[in-house]
């Protein structure tokens, strides 16, 4: 009886494994392309909104900025291929910026104008710190920075329009590069030199999943937490527009979707995401100002712990089950 059972299990096991091996092409269609389509559409709307009304306090413009930024955060874990070519991801989202390169460069443009901000073609050559969503956040939500223009509202307006148009252009280029190139590389994994096997394509997706969660834990949450003696609320992501907590939730939703695809709907892993998201929803602290108080800090730490539990499951269970482990990522190093 026992022998029979083992024989049966052996016979069944390979088929079950094959059915559970995720298909990179399906993940491209269900997870990656929809994300980039939404980003390109929202970024185009942002560009139109800035053209229609560039007043930094315009509700329409701020809403369009928020919608496009949301769409970016939902693909922000996909740091490979088109997002790394031509520095596109950095041009959309250079953060953190501990040396203040972004606001310093923007202040220079607001004070002096210059050839760099004469038109979009020239602007695309400037420091990535002065481009993208974090630059636009400063222009919309940081009156101290806008003061560098010394009341020249036309200069502020022109810069807002430039940054928005650049975001739209980079987002459109990202989508094109996926649709016309990288999608086929992932679908045809095994037949090209970028992905020499399906496992290599899966390793790339697995690396994106684990790196995205590492970034949320160590940077989105870790930077404002600082240390117990020295919390750093001003280091929270996009705190001026009160988006810090929102980004944690959006990134968890996006990585949860990718994890579902990679894990064939593993219920335990999905439950770990649900627990982390629930803790986010109980945290009424949009910009992590609470890290400065012991009670507030404990609750942000609880979110971080929940994210780390997801990471442990992914590294310790999902990876070995798929027979892959994450490759190197940009967070390796300091």
């Amino acid at each position: 009886m026992r022998g029979l059972l083992v024989g049966l299990l052996l016979a069944v096991a390979p088929a079950a494994t094959a059915a559970q091996t995720p298909d990179p092409g399906a993940i491209v269609d269900a997870h990656i392309l929809p994300g980039y389509r939404t980003l390109a559409a929202r970024a185009a709307e942002l560009d139109r909104a800035a053209e229609a009304d560039c007043d930094p306090s315009s509700a329409t413009l701020r809403q369009a900025y928020g919608d496009a930024f949301d769409a970016w955060v939902r693909v922000s874990h996909l740091r490979f291929g088109p997002s790394e070519e031509h520095d596109r991801a950095f041009a959309l989202a250079f953060w953190p910026d501990p040396r203040g390169a972004g606001p310093r460069t923007l202040a220079g443009f607001l004070q002096e104008g210059g050839a760099e901000v004469a038109d979009l073609a020239a602007f695309r050559d400037v420091s990535v710190a002065a481009r993208g969503f974090y630059a636009l956040e400063r222009l919309l939500h940081d009156p101290d920075l806008r003061a560098a223009a010394a009341g020249d509202d036309a200069r502020v307006c022109a810069l807002i329009r430039l940054v928005a148009a650049d975001i739209a252009q980079v987002s459109a280029a990202l989508l094109v590069a996926w649709v016309d190139g990288h999608s086929d590389l992932m679908r045809g994994a095994g037949d090209n030199d970028v992905y020499r096997s399906r496992d290599e394509a899966l390793r790339q997706l697995f690396t994106a999943l684990s790196t995205g969660l590492e970034f949320t834990s160590a940077v989105r949450l870790g930077r404002p937490l600082g240390t117990f003696d020295r919390p750093r609320p001003q280091r929270a992501e996009a705190w001026r527009s009160e988006r810090s907590l929102r980004h944690v939730r959006l990134s968890l939703e996006a990585t949860r979707d990718l994890a579902r695809h990679l894990s064939a709907g593993d219920a335990a892993l999905d439950a770990a995401f649900a627990r982390a998201i629930e803790r986010v929803d109980r945290l009424d602290d949009p910009r992590f100002a609470g890290v400065a108080t012991p009670q507030g800090r404990v609750r942000v730490e609880a979110v971080q712990r929940a994210v780390n539990e997801i990471r442990a499951q992914i590294a310790g269970e999902l990876g070995p089950r798929l027979g892959i482990s994450a490759g190197f990522n940009a967070l390796d190093g300091d």
């Binding site: 520095d87 950095f90 250079f94 501990p98 040396r99 203040g100 390169a101 972004g102 606001p103 310093r104 202040a107 760099e116 050559d125 400037v126 420091s127 990535v128 710190a129 920075l145 020499r196 496992d199 390793r203 684990s210 590492e214 834990s217 600082g226 240390t227 003696d229 020295r230 750093r232 609320p233 001003q234 280091r235 780390n308 990471r311 442990a312 499951q313 590294a315 310790g316 990876g319 070995p320 027979g323 892959i324 482990s325 994450a326 490759g327 190197f328 990522n329 940009a330 967070l331 390796d332 190093g333 300091d334």
Partner: protein, 422 residues
């Protein structure tokens, strides 16, 4: 005789196309790795002692020549140390320690006088303008600090990473570099920092103020560098803990080797140190920004990665340390992959060599970083692209050696993501 052997080899290949070279013992490969580490840190220590002697000479008899001699000694000391950086990632003992000797980037205003700074990094570092050379007493995180005497303890226990800020770099090569060269205020123009030797002149010739305290700082930082390197050299000696960590379990030793190669190539060198500076067009994003020695820093980092793969290091006295290598192991499993990765590593050295050649001919690294400088961008991106390419090969080598299947301890990997090839 040689011809005969070759012919026999060709015959053997023809007869058995599937036959592969026997792989070396994995424990012999990690022994080579540990031997090369021991040699690199011993060379780093010896050249830091020469720097220490040059600094002593500068302080006891300040002159333009003495300052130049100390700078030369610093540049020479970087050659073996940069080749050791590949040991940083993957070896917890090195990673926990390296911030003391090679932390970067730094807010140098913590240490000494600097040009007036630009703002906008609010909430980041309250001590960015402390200038401890000019400040014998100050408040740090609510505590009064007595800095009347500048000692090794003050540097490493109080100032280094003060207030939990990594940019507060009070010790190591880059602190010493700043004290020897001063700030490079040339922006994207040619030229390094131009600190006058009189910053160390005692008495009425002193420039920059507090020359006695500046000399005290330089001496303390150099002495610390020497003692820190002596400690690390001991970790790789026959009974050293770092050696034991990689040799006791050869598979985890191999994993450390590949982790170091990949993490340095990709996240650190291609990303943090090269591409970022280019994207920001910021000369302060240069790795050795005071001395304009960045081209060498990058070159010897790249060489260190190749040393690990080929199992061969040429020391500062010309001696060669070599033995069974990762390359031998990979070749035994997949000769085509080994040939490809060797080619990738050689291509990286050629690309980093192009940067070094141009820089030594006068096209300094900070000039290459300037916005719109197409030639500089092409040189730097050539290095970045080659480093990214070799990272793919390193990942494939790990897979061929069956190392990705190693069990990853969840919490360890999360506390120290660099420590494992997770």
């Amino acid at each position: 005789m040689t011809r005969l052997t070759l012919a026999a080899g060709a015959l053997a290949l023809a007869a058995a196309p599937a036959a592969l070279a026997a792989p070396p013992d994995r424990s012999a490969v990690v022994e080579t790795y540990a031997d090369i580490a021991a040699a690199k840190y011993a060379d780093s220590l010896a050249s830091a002692e020469r720097l220490q002697a040059a600094v002593d000479a500068l302080i006891s008899a300040p002159s333009a020549q003495a300052l130049e001699a100390a700078k030369d000694a610093w540049v020479a000391a970087r050659v073996p140390y940069q080749q050791s950086e590949v040991y940083r990632f993957g070896n917890a003992i090195v990673d926990d320690w390296e911030g003391k000797v090679n932390a970067w980037p730094l807010d140098e205003g913590l240490i000494d006088y600097v040009a007036p700074a630009h703002g906008f990094a609010e909430g980041e570092n309250d001590l960015a303008q402390l200038n401890v050379v000019a400040t014998p007493a100050f408040t740090l995180s609510g505590q009064e600090v007595d800095a009347a005497e500048i000692t090794a303890a003050l540097l490493q226990d109080v100032l280094h990473e003060a207030d939990g800020v990594e940019a507060n770099v009070a010790t190591g090569y880059h602190a010493i570099e700043f004290l020897l060269w001063g700030q490079d205020l040339n922006g994207h123009g040619p030229g390094a920092g131009t600190r006058p030797w009189t910053d160390y002149a005692q008495g009425p010739d002193c420039t920059g103020g507090n020359c006695d305290r500046r000399a005290e700082y330089l001496r303390a930082a150099t002495d610390l560098l020497v003692s820190d390197l002596a400690w690390m050299t001991a970790q790789w000696a026959e009974d050293g803990a770092a050696r034991a960590a990689v040799t006791e379990d050869p598979s985890s030793g191999l994993l450390a080797m590949l982790t170091g190669m990949g993490s340095l190539s990709y996240g650190e060198q291609a990303g943090e140190r090269m591409r970022l500076g280019l994207m920001l067009n910021d000369p302060e994003e240069e790795h050795d920004c005071f001395s304009d020695n960045t081209h060498n820093s990058h070159y010897y980092d790249g060489l260190g990665v190749r040393n690990v793969y080929l199992g061969r290091y040429v020391g500062i006295d010309g001696r060669v340390v070599s033995g069974p290598s990762l390359s031998d192991l990979v070749a035994a499993a997949d000769p085509a992959l080994d040939a490809e990765l060797q080619g990738d590593l050689a291509a990286t050295m050629a690309a980093l060599g192009d940067i070094k050649t141009a820089a030594e001919a006068g096209f300094a690294y900070d000039m290459m970083l300037e916005r719109g400088n197409a030639e500089g961008e092409a040189l730097i991106m050539g290095g970045v692209t080659a480093l990214i390419e070799q990272t793919r090969g390193i990942e494939r080598a790990a897979e061929v050696l069956g190392l990705q299947a190693l069990e990853v301890e969840g919490s360890d990997s999360l506390d120290d993501p660099e420590a494992v090839f997770q």
